[in-house]
Point group: C2
Chain length 326, copies 2
Amino acid sequence: MSGDLGPRVAVSAALKFTAMFADVDVLLVGDEQQLLALASKKIPAKKLSQNRITIIHAADVITMDEDPLVALRHKQNSSMWCAIDAVKNNRADACVSAGNTGALLAISKYLLKTFPGIERPAICKAMPTEAHTAYLLDLGANIHCSAEQLHQFALMGSVLASSPAMKPRVGLLNIGKEDTKGTDVIQAAQTLLRNDERLHYSGFVEANDIFSSDVDVIVCDGFHGNIALKSIEGTARFIAKKIQRGFTKNWFNKFLGFIMLPLLNQWRTELDPSMYNGASFLGLQKTVVKSHGNANKKAFLQALMVAREQIIQNVPARIQQQFSSI
Amino acid sequence: MSGDLGPRVAVSAALKFTAMFADVDVLLVGDEQQLLALASKKIPAKKLSQNRITIIHAADVITMDEDPLVALRHKQNSSMWCAIDAVKNNRADACVSAGNTGALLAISKYLLKTFPGIERPAICKAMPTEAHTAYLLDLGANIHCSAEQLHQFALMGSVLASSPAMKPRVGLLNIGKEDTKGTDVIQAAQTLLRNDERLHYSGFVEANDIFSSDVDVIVCDGFHGNIALKSIEGTARFIAKKIQRGFTKNWFNKFLGFIMLPLLNQWRTELDPSMYNGASFLGLQKTVVKSHGNANKKAFLQALMVAREQIIQNVPARIQQQFSSI
């Protein structure tokens, strides 16, 4: 019901999602009237259930600027609370929301709990690199992190990035590669990561190495991760604007823009932030995925696909297993 | 003598620099034989002084991976030490180096001192934005900063960014714009910045706002600044590679690349990191500028121009004045 653009985006992405994947059912949680009106623009109301779409009514909404702790205390009737509650009660396997990140985190943690051995969930997102995707975590759930928490993030990120063919390489974000660099917490975390045989630890990485394909998981506290993520997004947007403006300056450049279209579209697809939408709250006992607040339909669909993939890959259970194997 | 590429780059940039600006003299500090050999490739040895170039011999070199404190204790005969010493003894107005950042910082602080009221120097660099340049500091000199230090950075950055026509807008880097966001240190710094009438404080900014033109100075601790800077550099390089690769894929794309050349060159110039080379060590009683370790001739020349501009703008004295006006 929330996000910067309201339920319109989520509903149209959800309809597309069920049409694309026969193995998914969608529960739309929020104001029944509004959701029904939006959904029935595409699919007649009586055919919704046949299309694996169910609407669950929730009277209240958590706004984007609401204090997460206030939301946690007073918004048990909100769409967000009811959606997470549906996951808790096994009516759903995952919750996807474009709403208030802090509230989503607080309510998820309260209702779904983290696995034993995991203090707090971490926000984790796939980043494009030269050759593949790398996972960056935490992206803002935890401002201050202990070395032990960074260690937990490394284990959780490794599960998300792992495949039968490879044990993911884990890097620790720092401001230099030398062993002496960084804060006491980062130094202590390096010792923990080095000594954990479950991990393939590669050492310190700097923020420019996020793109280098040398590591598959990059671990940092939420403040650092948030700065890195927003710097990357800001730079990409800045360059995209420069490029776009270049093509509008005069008639010759407009012509260039026209014949460049296929290449420009390819770049757009490869660098499109919406292709990387969908941040996972790792460490929870169930799957919760946060979509960017201003995600469009394509981006929200991507977040839904991230959730589906995590259910298929059985990520929460594998994280639990990772932590019980100590 | 150091940097990733040795003295070759610095010498050729210095010769170009004296040729471009009649108001500068250059002292090349390092191994006399090597420097003479490099310089005399372009200008006959006996004409060097006529071209306002003097070579000062220094027997030792501080390597890029040397511990700054070891360098401070044992490398009094190094080129870096002698160059900073020349500034201390008023033989030079500024020192520019592409060498070991930590050593440059430690020796500069030891020999040149900071002004009263400034605990430690901050590294500050101009960043491109939509409309102008913004200054980001600190970029790595101070891993942990107190609120008081962040306040000092705001005052120093304001001097660097100020012009007779405008009082620069100062933002404090955080992971959200809401007043409740951030660490205790950032919260305390915000109070100090808000209450200082010498500053035009604009509030919290997020890392993507570095490009927004809404602020002229962005203040943060050295860890956060370093992550932002390297994320930005990494993203720009990543996108540049993608673009370049797009133009080599097939003959038609190569043809596109050919007719796109003027536009590509314009982008390259506008986004070229070497155009933003030259980080100032603010807070020292004299001017010291750090060039990127792998700077090419054009980039090193840019760092020399940053130093010249700060001498002309009388930046150290104006910072002193700012701090004595409390």
